[in-house]
């Protein structure tokens, strides 16, 4: 298959790049990989040998955090360019084997880890959760892949179910019928598979009469909100729902936690979708929760490297991981808890706490878990 670089130039606005380096300067993997976004734009613009560019390992180092595109003064679509090149590689079957497996798994089992589709709702077995098909609701609690299968993230799913039940929220989950949202699939380059997932999920949600979607992962939130072409159903990240419940007096956070906590803004929630205040409002309404702002917060949050298919990619980067940098930054603030609101952030930080040997000094929690703790009356 041949690709005409002119397509890239046109689709991703490469010819308007003024080579100012804002992209590279703010890139979270700039010191961890040879990826230089500015130079990539220039080279893709000028090259007549596209395959020499597309073979580079560092193309898989991009976390698609979108700091570059959001700051670009010229409106170059850098991240879309990366995804475009990955799509080219996916179509040729030239993606790294771990990525290939993740894509195949999603096609077969509806999740990138290749866990059995039939066991997707095992975590919810004893929680008394309504499941679409057996019962119905206007609100879909879309769980997502990691929160369904990963034991660490399942605790977030469980917490949210208990919180919603306590607040009297009527909702149902899809159970075995739930499939991957496709956000990471698109970022790994499989545009066709993403389109299929979007189409199938949209049809399913509409068939079930869903009027509102709540997601756990900011990645699912992003896909539904910004990238599903025909969805037209309001989507909320769970932090937005919790703030509403707290403000409406439906959640009584009564237990003093007695912790000092800082918060890491997930890229797909914060800088990409501008949900900055809700997580902070929640933390500030938990009793005995001393909230400390991180040095690099909100739009300047440092990507944890969990996005853009990096959960399934190997190599392409070297040196100290951003996750470890973040853990050290949190410890330096004397925070005992690093809170976040994204399954991928949670997992990368859990790893980093162990690799940096700081498990004695700090714990990583999802905001939902902290809310759950504050709800429990001794």
């Amino acid at each position: 298959m041949k690709i005409d670089p002119k397509t890239f130039i046109h689709d991703y606005q490469l010819n308007i790049c003024i080579q100012c380096g804002t992209c590279t300067g703010g890139c979270p993997v700039k010191f961890r990989s040879p990826l230089n976004m500015r130079r990539l734009v220039r080279e893709t613009h000028l090259t007549d040998n596209f395959s020499s560019i597309s073979k580079r390992a560092e193309l898989w180092a991009c976390t698609t955090c979108s700091t570059c595109s959001l700051r670009c003064p010229s409106g170059v679509k850098n991240v879309e360019l990366i995804m475009g090149i990955r799509n080219f590689l996916a179509n040729k079957g030239e993606v790294p084997s771990t990525i290939r497996d993740a894509l195949e798994n999603t096609l077969l089992q509806g999740n990138p880890w290749g866990r059995f589709r039939d066991r997707r709702a095992d975590w919810a077995q004893d929680l008394g959760v309504k499941i679409f098909g057996e019962e119905t609701s206007e609100t879909l609690f879309y769980v997502g892949c990691a929160p369904s299968y990963d034991p660490r993230v399942q605790s977030v799913s469980t917490s949210l179910v208990r919180i919603f039940q306590k607040a009297g929220v009527d909702f149902a989950i899809l159970g075995k019928k739930e499939s991957c949202c496709g956000n990471e699939i698109r970022r790994m380059g499989e545009q066709a598979l993403f389109k299929k997932l979007a189409k199938d999920n949209t049809a399913l949600f509409k068939k079930l009469g869903v009027k509102r979607i709540i997601t756990i992962s900011p990645h699912c939130y992003n896909a539904f909100k910004n990238e599903y072409p025909d969805l037209n159903i309001p989507v909320q990240h769970y932090t937005q729902v919790l703030v509403d419940l707290i403000e409406a007096g439906k959640l009584h956070l009564s237990k003093e936690l007695g912790i000092s906590v800082t918060y890491h803004d997930p890229c797909f929630l914060g800088k990409q979708n501008k949900v900055f205040d809700e997580p902070r409002k929640i933390l500030n309404s938990i009793p005995g929760c001393d909230f400390i702002e991180m040095e690099r917060s909100r739009e300047r949050s440092l990507c944890c490297e969990g996005g853009g298919g990096r959960m399934w990619a190997e190599g392409g980067t070297e040196g100290k991981r951003n996750g470890e940098i973040r853990i050290r930054e949190a410890v330096a603030l004397a925070a005992k808890t690093l809170a976040t609101a994204c399954p991928f952030c949670l997992l990368t930080f859990e790893d980093s706490v162990k690799t940096s040997g700081l498990a004695e000094q700090i714990v990583v929690k999802d905001i939902a878990e902290l809310v759950m703790e504050a709800l429990e009356v001794q």
Binding site: I18, Q19, C20, G21, T22, C23, T24, G25, G26, C27, K30, F31, N36, R38, R39, L70, R71, C72, P73, S74, G75, E295, R296, R298, E299, R300
Partner: protein, 667 residues
């Protein structure tokens, strides 16, 4: 009466002749009804070309002329003057545009010539029905309103006052001087801004031709060029300026000890509720800020200022006042707003100390500023490393696409001052260096020689590591990402249109360009005029400018105003609307649609009537009038329909050329 039309076809060198067969046009137009003479010539606008036409007018008794040439925007005035000089009414001219609308946009010579024939025939058909018109004349008020008293407004006011005319200079804030009064030294000569500027501000206060109205805003403008009627609202300062000596005792006495951020010091220092912003302020009078004054905002205060004032100047009963001024011309010089870097959160402005805007640095470096010119960090220490970021809020799709023009030079000047005063390591993060003015490139070389590091890459973000600011960017010339710890960052904040630009535009009836600044009448040839006759622009309200350009533009606006006012009377195009009182049914549709409020209803007669002084001849009333009572001079139904009929006529049938055949209008 038989009409003698002369038709002249211009080659415009090869501009027209290369694509259109001009000789064929001569043959063709000779046969058109009413045409007595047709000729072609290489350049009709040249002296020999014009002489040719003049000779024909005299010898052949021509009474109407059609010029087939370029757009009427180019040379309509030239040929109208020619007709006038030969005793023919200039409105008996018609221009057939066969360049912009024909030769320039076509390649096929045959088809282009065919199209030119259509255009020419329509022009001849139209000129047959054109009528002699006489321009209207109005007297001119020999006085000027200048809005905004920064360097632009001050320069313009002084120029005009120097020419012997009365100027009303209106300033919204309580003091004149604008942004230039805030600057330390100016690039590239490093003149001290207040040293060169104070004589001007003092002269404004002293000059008897200038009436200075501070704390005032223009609220209403009616009338037209030469005869504007304006209303100016003078907001209360709660201090009687006649009694106030500017001693400052009241300021010392004000109970608001903690103060509020000083506007003049860009928030780098605080002021009391009653204040004099800086020692050289003009007028040197205290004013009360009603937002922070406890008496005015909360209704309760010990009024220590009243006690302290020996002159008895405080007057809390002062009310706003509306002043009416009739002026012949207006200059708008309302300036700019500096870009607010809160809008770009990646730079941590407002989050961290020691990140400043360009103007904040000016105050820091100014000898009259909060640090008396010492460049110190918030904790009072001397910075060891400083970064300057270019293009903050300029050349950026996310904020403003325009280049703010001054920031490269301002940044480099500030780098020079910082280097001189602190000896710090200095980094300039830039995309391109725009050193376009006289002596600017030389200054750029000079600061490089002084050891300032230039890093070609836009600053991407600022964060803190180990208690120190870190600037992140890419050195794009090396292709390497860099993170440099510094103590102070100065954001080269750009210039934006003022937040109230839309309101000002509406008050004066002018428009704005896409960047939000006020729009000039022509970007090259009428850079200080607006599309409203008699209203001119000066300085940064029209677009970002440095001081030399601002001053030059202000003087240009002053010259325009003086050349206009010196005429004593003004000729206005007679191509306006009239309403036939016999046909008008008094439906008032024209009054509703008129964008210039130029039509009034005569209650006694029950009909509408056009105010000639206000009508701009847009034709809206003519189009909407159901009775065809409204008539647009020089664009009558007959004239326009004759042109249209001729254009839609397929065959070149000479017999069908009577322009009056198909028209069914009243005129």
């Amino acid at each position: 009466m038989k009409k003698n039309i002369g038709v002249y076809i211009c080659h415009c060198g090869t501009n027209i002749a290369a694509t259109v067969d001009c000789e064929e046009l001569v043959r063709f137009s000779s046969a058109l009804p009413g045409v007595k003479m047709a000729r072609d010539y290489r350049y009709l606008c040249s002296d020999p070309g014009q002489d040719l036409i003049k000779k024909d007018i005299r010898e052949l008794s021509l009474d109407r002329v059609v010029i087939a040439a370029c757009s009427p925007r180019m040379h309509e005035a030239t040929f109208r003057n020619l007709l006038s000089s030969e005793g023919i009414n200039p409105y008996l001219l018609n221009i057939a545009n066969i360049r912009e609308q024909c030769s320039w946009v076509h390649h096929d010579r045959g088809k282009a010539t065919e199209k030119a024939r259509h255009i020419l025939r329509a022009a001849v058909a139209r000129v047959l029905g054109q009528e002699a018109l006489t321009p209207r004349k109005f007297g001119i008020q020999p006085s000027v309103l200048v809005v905004g008293a920064g360097i632009a407004g001050i320069q313009a006011a002084l120029n005009i006052a120097g020419g012997g005319m009365k100027v009303t200079l209106v300033e919204k804030s309580p003091f004149i001087g604008g942004h230039m009064a805030q600057l330390d030294k100016t690039f590239p000569t490093l003149d001290c801004s207040s040293c060169i500027f104070t004589p001007r501000t003092v002269e404004v206060a002293r000059n008897r031709q200038i009436e200075l109205l501070v704390n005032s805003e223009v609220t209403e403008v009616t009338g037209f060029v030469g005869n504007f009627k304006t209303k100016i609202r003078k907001n209360p300062t709660y201090v009687d300026f006649i009694k106030c000596t500017g001693c400052g005792d009241c300021v010392e006495a004000c109970v608001l000890k903690k103060g509020v951020p000083s506007e003049f010091e860009e928030g780098m220092a605080r002021r009391r509720a009653i204040y004099i912003p800086f020692p050289q302020a003009v007028p040197l009078k205290a004013v009360v800020d009603k937002e922070s004054c406890l008496l005015l905002s909360k209704g309760k205060c010990k009024k220590t200022c009243v006690e302290a004032c020996k002159a008895g100047a405080l007057d809390f009963e002062q009310k706003e006042e509306v002043i009416e001024k009739e002026v012949g011309s207006i200059i708008i010089a309302t300036g700019y707003d500096p870009f607010d870097p809160h809008l770009l959160p990646q730079y941590g402005y407002g989050v961290y100390d020691n990140i400043l805007t360009g103007l904040q640095f000016e105050r820091l470096s100014s000898p009259s500023g909060p640090n008396r010119g010492e460049i110190l960090l918030k904790d009072g220490t001397v910075p060891k490393a400083i970064a300057f970021f270019h293009c903050i809020g300029s050349r950026d799709e996310n904020t403003n696409l325009h280049c703010s023009r001054i920031c490269c030079m301002a940044s480099m000047k500030q780098a020079h001052l910082a280097k001189e005063k602190t000896g710090a390591e200095i980094y300039e993060f830039y995309i391109d260096i725009n050193a376009f003015g006289k002596g600017y490139q030389e200054f750029y070389k000079r600061v490089r020689e002084e050891g300032i590091f230039f890093i070609r890459g836009k600053g991407s973000e600022i964060f803190k590591r180990d208690g120190r600011l870190v600037v992140a960017a890419e050195d794009t010339l090396l292709g390497t990402a860099v993170e440099i710890p510094v103590d102070l960052v100065v954001l080269g904040t750009g210039l934006t249109a003022r937040h109230d630009a839309e309101k000002v535009a509406q008050t004066f009836g002018i428009s704005r360009s896409a960047d939000g600044f006020f729009m000039e009448a022509h970007p090259k040839l009428r850079p200080v005029a607006t599309q409203v006759d008699g209203v001119f622009l000066a300085g940064c309200c029209q677009g970002p400018k440095d001081i030399p350009d601002t001053v030059a533009q202000a003087s240009a606006a002053a010259a325009e105003v003086m050349s206009l006012l010196n005429k004593g009377e003004i000729e206005v195009e007679p191509t306006i609307a009239t309403i036939d009182p016999e046909l008008c049914a008094g439906c008032k549709l024209c009054i509703e649609i008129c964008p210039h409020s130029a039509i009034e209803f005569l209650e006694m007669k029950g009909i509408s009537s056009v105010n000639e002084a206000l009508c701009k001849g847009c034709g809206a009333c003519t189009a909407i009038c159901p009775n065809k009572a409204a008539r647009q001079n020089h664009f009558t139904h007959n004239q326009v329909l004759a042109e249209v009929d001729s254009l839609v006529e397929k065959e070149f049938n000479v017999k069908a050329q009577n322009p009056n055949v198909k028209s069914m209008t009243n005129d």
